[in-house]
């Protein structure tokens, strides 16, 4: 079962939920797709790390063959190419679509490999911990996320996918293989606004979903209101708790530390598992 954990904004509690769900599940793989700022490994502190470079293909020009027709310049939607008295290629802007190489009528463009980051695989307390790391300044983490999702282990009871914040391309890529999406939100105006964005995204992709309200204080909050209005299922409410916050900010996996926290996430995993099974029956 593949469970993706999303939120419209950073700091809502995606990693808290993902790490602890992985921790309470008996046989799980934790996949950190937040490749711009992966932080799940700070909690798991995995051993036996194996690192693999991830590269993309970018164009390189043979000036002897380039006739300055500018087919490539006109094609590139990201403006990664320009032509003066010779072709200029801006590696940092290239999104590796390959179009320039395909459409060059003179075969003047060929591809070269460019390393954009890496995937690290390790183990923590029996949990497979896989993290993607995008090098600073690279335009897109999608190639790294594609590789990360190849690590989804069909033999794991649960693959927990810790998504990047927001609702852009990297998030769409991350939830592609998800059987269920957990939307983590804070009970604030900002939280509700961003929850609405990811809610629209998971609806667009027809993914079964439910909300976890983190840092919950009382029922009268904008997130709760939004969920009622849109008829979104609330899976759980994690109370605002200073001790929890302190442990979490020290890099402690809270459900390893205290039984009362363990019960919260066991119950959440249970609820989600039931939801997925129910979905499988009603929408096979």
């Amino acid at each position: 079962m593949n469970i993706a954990v999303l939120s419209g904004k950073g700091g809502a509690g995606k990693t808290l939920v993902s790490v602890n769900l992985s921790e309470v599940s008996e046989n799980s793989t934790y996949i950190d797709c937040d490749v711009e700022e992966p932080n799940g490994h700070l909690f798991f502190k995995p051993d036996n790390i194996i690192k693999n470079n991830i590269s993309v293909k970018i164009p390189i020009v043979n000036n002897d063959l380039c006739e300055g027709c500018r087919t490539c310049v006109d094609f590139c939607k990201f403006n990664a190419l320009a032509y003066t008295d010779k072709l200029l290629i801006f590696d940092d802007i290239c999104h590796s679509c390959g179009g320039c190489m395909r459409f060059c009528p003179n075969g003047a463009l060929s591809e070269k490999e460019k390393v954009i980051g890496e995937v690290q695989k390790g183990v923590s307390n029996g949990i497979d911990v896989i993290s993607g790391i995008l090098n600073i300044g690279e335009p897109s983490g999608v190639p790294i996320i594609k590789e990360l999702l190849n690590h989804i282990d069909e033999n794991s009871h649960y693959n927990i996918i810790d998504c990047p914040p927001g609702s852009a391309c990297v998030v769409m890529e991350s939830i592609k293989d998800a059987d269920y999406c957990i939307l983590v939100s804070e009970p604030t105006v900002f939280g509700a606004h961003n929850l609405n964005m990811v809610y629209e995204l998971v609806k667009l992709f027809n993914k079964p979903h439910g909300v976890v309200i983190n840092k919950y204080i009382n029922e009268d909050n904008p997130t709760e209101k939004l969920c009622k209005e849109k008829n979104i299922k609330i899976l759980d409410r994690i109370p605002f708790d200073k001790e929890l916050g302190n442990l979490n900010s020290d890099g402690v996996i809270i459900s390893r530390e205290k039984d009362e926290y363990r019960e919260v996430f066991e119950s959440l995993l249970n609820t989600v598992t039931k939801e997925v099974k129910y979905e499988a029956i009603t929408n096979p």
Binding site: F78, A80, T84, F90, H95
Partner: protein, 122 residues
């Protein structure tokens, strides 16, 4: 000499725009005929690399010098490759910038910024 300038309107009464790549308009001014023509900047709404595309437009118009308040490093690379001079504009009207340039009162733009680098699609 042909000058180019990012402008905030398509009228000689306007001012220099405060950005280059995403400026709404460009002015091309011919110092010999004293004629100015404005056109919409086709790079203004680019997903990314607006500076590169805007610089390409300037290169294609056979401009000798660009007068601009700022310029990113990618755009500057394109302009330099085409030997286009880049002058620092005055925070002033289009007309005053043109006359300052003609009298040699504008200095070369030294502060090429590293760009905003939100190249779309992130």
């Amino acid at each position: 000499m042909k000058l180019a300038m990012p402008t905030n309107t398509d009228s000689m009464e306007g001012r220099v725009n405060n950005t280059f790549g995403r400026s709404p308009y460009f002015l091309i001014y011919d110092t010999e005929t004293k004629e100015g023509t404005f056109f919409n900047n086709p790079a203004a709404a680019s997903h990314g690399g607006a500076g590169i595309k805007a610089a390409q437009v300037i290169v294609d118009k056979n401009i000798d010098a660009l007068i601009t308040p700022r310029c990113g490093e990618n755009a500057a690379n394109v302009l330099n490759q085409a030997n286009i001079k880049i002058y620092q504009s005055l925070n002033d009207t289009i007309r005053n910038n043109i006359s300052a340039c003609q009298e040699g009162e504008l200095s070369t733009l030294e502060n090429i910024h590293a760009g905003f680098h939100h190249h779309g699609g992130r």
